[in-house]
């Protein structure tokens, strides 16, 4: 830095011998290369959008078919070549779905009762368990948590056999209890929430301790609100689970007072006993009615559902 006069030295820039460089383009090539480049870019874009559009149509088509089928008259539905758009909208199918043998209203009510009660109870159990695993110290904590996680490996069907025997012995068949209690504890949700709780800075907990706040108060006032997104995810997934559950309800609560939506839907409610023909438009109307609430929930809680799902790998 001390040098006062301008340095006279010029840097020698003579390159030492080197392997022949890979042939670079001549000037006239450049025009054609940039044209080619642009064409390829456009073709790729066209290809991408075509691929995505075709696939999107295949994904959407069943929904479309469900909707238009539910609005066709039985005669139109039974035409040799199905029409792609109903000639006239037959809203009666929806009336049939509700008033017919299916008794959709009752199914809805049952499902909502089971869904809401099991979700609420499950949330409470999940929150306090996750808290114990995240913040409290006790002997055998890690061992127990590990054991819980290990049970996630086991397919649920393995439990079902014994559980069926157990609930029969308890005399719980054809009650709401049997639809709610056995699935109150989800190890996965406890795990999910515990991870979330662990991310909350410990300083907050210590600060609360200094204030003399009890664990319980801290849990409800700080941890729960801070984990709201995860809790919402859990709530929605749990509700969806109730809405979609089929096997267990079919097995243990198949009477009309406790039957759930999906079980009723797959039953024989739309068979015309005289002709042994199924009233498909009415059935499709029922399917629409069952499908719409889920789609609405999805539209409003898209973010939470996707968040929960990407970490679960379990449907419902």
């Amino acid at each position: 830095m001390e040098k006062e006069n301008t340095p006279e030295t010029t840097i020698p820039s003579a390159p030492t011998p080197q392997p022949a460089p890979i042939k670079t383009m001549k000037e006239k090539d450049i025009k054609s290369v940039s044209v080619k480049q642009r064409v390829v870019k456009i073709l790729v874009q066209v290809g991408l959008y075509t691929f995505l559009t075709i696939l999107a149509i295949s994904i959407l088509f069943p929904f479309y078919w469900m909707l238009i089928s539910s609005l066709k008259t039985l005669t139109e539905y039974n035409e040799t070549i199905p029409t792609l758009w109903p000639r006239q909208f037959c809203w009666d199918n929806y009336v049939t779905a509700f008033t017919g043998e299916l008794n959709l209203g009752r199914l809805f009510l049952n499902t909502v009762i089971v869904g809401v009660v099991s979700t609420l109870l499950s949330l409470v159990v999940t929150i306090i368990s996750a808290f114990a695993f995240a913040r409290l110290e006790f002997k055998g904590k890690n061992l127990m948590f590990g054991a819980l996680l290990a049970t996630m490996m086991i397919p649920g069907e393995l439990f079902t056999i014994t559980n069926y025997i157990t609930v029969s012995a308890f005399g719980w068949l054809n009650t709401f209890t049997v639809l709610i209690v056995p699935f109150l504890v989800s190890v996965f949700y406890i795990y999910l929430l515990r991870q979330n709780f662990m991310q909350i800075p410990n300083e907050l907990y210590l600060a609360a301790k200094v204030d003399g706040t009890s664990d319980f108060k801290y849990l409800w006032r700080v941890m729960v609100p801070l984990s709201a997104p995860t809790l919402i995810s859990i709530t929605i997934l749990k509700m969806m689970g109730a809405w979609n559950s089929y096997i267990w309800p079919l097995l243990v609560a198949n009477d009309s007072a406790h039957k759930l939506v999906t079980v009723g839907l797959r039953g024989t409610a739309f068979v015309d006993l005289a002709t042994n023909m199924i009233n498909y438009p009415a059935q499709m109307a029922a399917v629409v009615i069952v499908t719409i609430p889920l789609l609405l929930v999805f539209i409003f809680f898209r973010k939470y559902i996707m968040r929960g799902v990407s970490r679960s790998g379990i449907k419902g």
Binding site: P15, T16, I22
Partner: protein, 450 residues
């Protein structure tokens, strides 16, 4: 390969759709001619657009305006793969699942048509370039098994293996520790000389740029401030920003005025600047520009002396200095001349730069005028246009706004916690408040509020 940038401009559209005015001009009317086979350092504080400029040269970003020429070829529209460039990323971007050898071979395996190489030829080239950067011992390792410096050299090898026309390096040394940094920058210099490939590298570290570049380009807020050989730019800064940005320890800046051909700092007449018009000025004095002299014009209050061996550094204060301390470097022989609280300095004329207070542009005086003209002439003789920024300087204020919005976005989880905590506190007060705690309360909060 000569690289020419003409009126290069990059405007990033505003991220917030509602606020169209918030678009960011990252690079503004950038003109530069880079001679063949030279090593160029793009230098500036973070956010000055140097990386954006580099990425536009690479083709990874498209200029909003302007043209890029490699030699005579207009490559502005060309995709990166067709430009014949090598690029070394700040984080090296080595493919983590490939070995060193596979990483180096990757660009060769992509060659098509008449450029296609035989397998043996590929291996030969990879070997050759690995030897050049001295990583031939590690060919079968994965990047994660290499040190930072080794990864860096693999990245350079990967960029060099297809013999690019231009080599681009983005902050190549920023991820290395101090010792490796020194070593690696010499390495880069060596490799560049051995291959003779025109090389452009980006850095925010002025020392790094000065030590290995043939030319440096100092940028601020997307605008070129000055170009030239490192020593020239250091000795002849075109404006206050460049003067302040180059040099360690940094230049000392004072407010002052020119009156009747004399330079004043405060009331003290410090230098004869005959020929300069009367005006308010900033005075920049390099630390090595001070001479202890009982008769000297500038007086400072001594607050400490750092002994650095051959030289000593006198730390002092002056009411007209912009920074809190004035640092001067003098020969250690002079130490006995420091007695008492106050020292007086005589100034070396060529180490004193004066800048108009309004424009912050340099005002040459005395011998500086001839020296400046000589430098410009030499530079033109080397085929490099002398560029300085002459218009109004871009203001830091723009920079501030950008930073603030950045912080806004970063608010995440903890900000939410912060919002939540006071609410909880006020709720808990009646239950939890104890007489002996209130003093500690704010402290308890601090870690979580950070």
């Amino acid at each position: 390969m000569k690289v020419v940038l003409q009126h290069l401009t990059k405007i990033f559209p505003s991220r917030n759709k509602k606020d169209k005015g918030a678009e960011v001009i990252a690079v503004n009317d950038f003109n530069l001619e880079i001679p063949d086979g030279k090593l160029i350092g793009l230098l500036g504080p973070s956010g000055c657009g140097k990386s954006t400029t580099l990425f536009m040269i690479s083709g990874l970003q498209t200029p909003s305006d302007g043209k890029i020429f490699f030699g005579e070829d207009d490559v502005t529209e060309l995709a990166p793969e067709n430009r014949g460039i090598g690029l070394v990323f700040q984080n090296y971007a080595l493919y983590p699942h490939l070995t060193v050898q596979q990483n180096i071979l990757f660009p060769l395996q992509n060659l098509k048509g008449e450029n296609r190489l035989s397998k043996e030829e590929m291996l030969r080239r990879a070997d050759e370039v690995a030897k050049l950067v001295q990583i031939d011992e590690y060919m079968n390792r994965k990047p994660s098994e290499l040190s930072g410096g080794q990864q860096q050299r693999v990245a350079i090898a990967r960029a060099l293996v297809k013999m690019p026309r231009v080599l681009l390096l983005d902050e190549p040394l920023s991820n290395l520790d101090a010792r490796l940094r020194l070593q690696t920058r010499e390495e880069i210099r060596r490799i560049q000389r051995d291959t003779g490939i025109t090389t452009i590298f980006v850095t925010h570290d002025q020392e790094e740029a000065m030590s290995i570049s043939d030319y440096i380009v100092v940028m601020k807020l997307g605008v070129i401030m000055q170009t030239g050989k490192p020593q020239w730019v250091y000795d002849d800064p075109a404006n206050l920003f460049v003067a302040k940005f180059l040099g360690t320890p940094p230049i000392n800046v004072f407010t002052g005025k020119v009156e009747n051909g004399y330079l004043y700092i405060g009331d003290e007449k410090v230098l004869d600047v005959g020929g300069v018009e009367d005006q308010e000025v900033y005075v920049g004095i390099r630390p090595e520009g001070f001479l202890l002299d009982a008769e000297g014009g500038l007086s400072c209050k001594v607050s400490g002396i750092d002994v650095m061996g051959r030289d000593i550094s006198v730390v002092s204060t002056n009411p007209n200095a912009i920074s809190p301390i004035v640092r001067s470097i003098i020969s250690s022989d002079e130490i006995r001349n420091i007695a008492g609280d106050t020292v007086r300095f005589k100034l070396k004329e060529h180490k004193v730069f004066i800048f108009n207070k309004e424009t912050e542009l340099r005002v040459h005086f005395g011998g500086q005028i001839a020296m400046h003209e000589k430098m410009v002439a030499e530079m033109q003789a080397e085929g490099q246009a002398y560029t300085t920024h002459t218009g109004p300087l871009p203001r830091e204020a723009d920079d501030k706004v950008k930073q603030d919005t950045h912080v806004e976005q970063k608010k995440g989880f903890l900000a939410k916690v912060k919002g939540l905590l006071p609410k909880k506190k006020s709720n808990e007060k009646p239950v939890g408040s104890t007489e002996d705690k209130p003093a500690e309360e704010p402290q308890e909060n601090q870690p979580s509020e950070e």
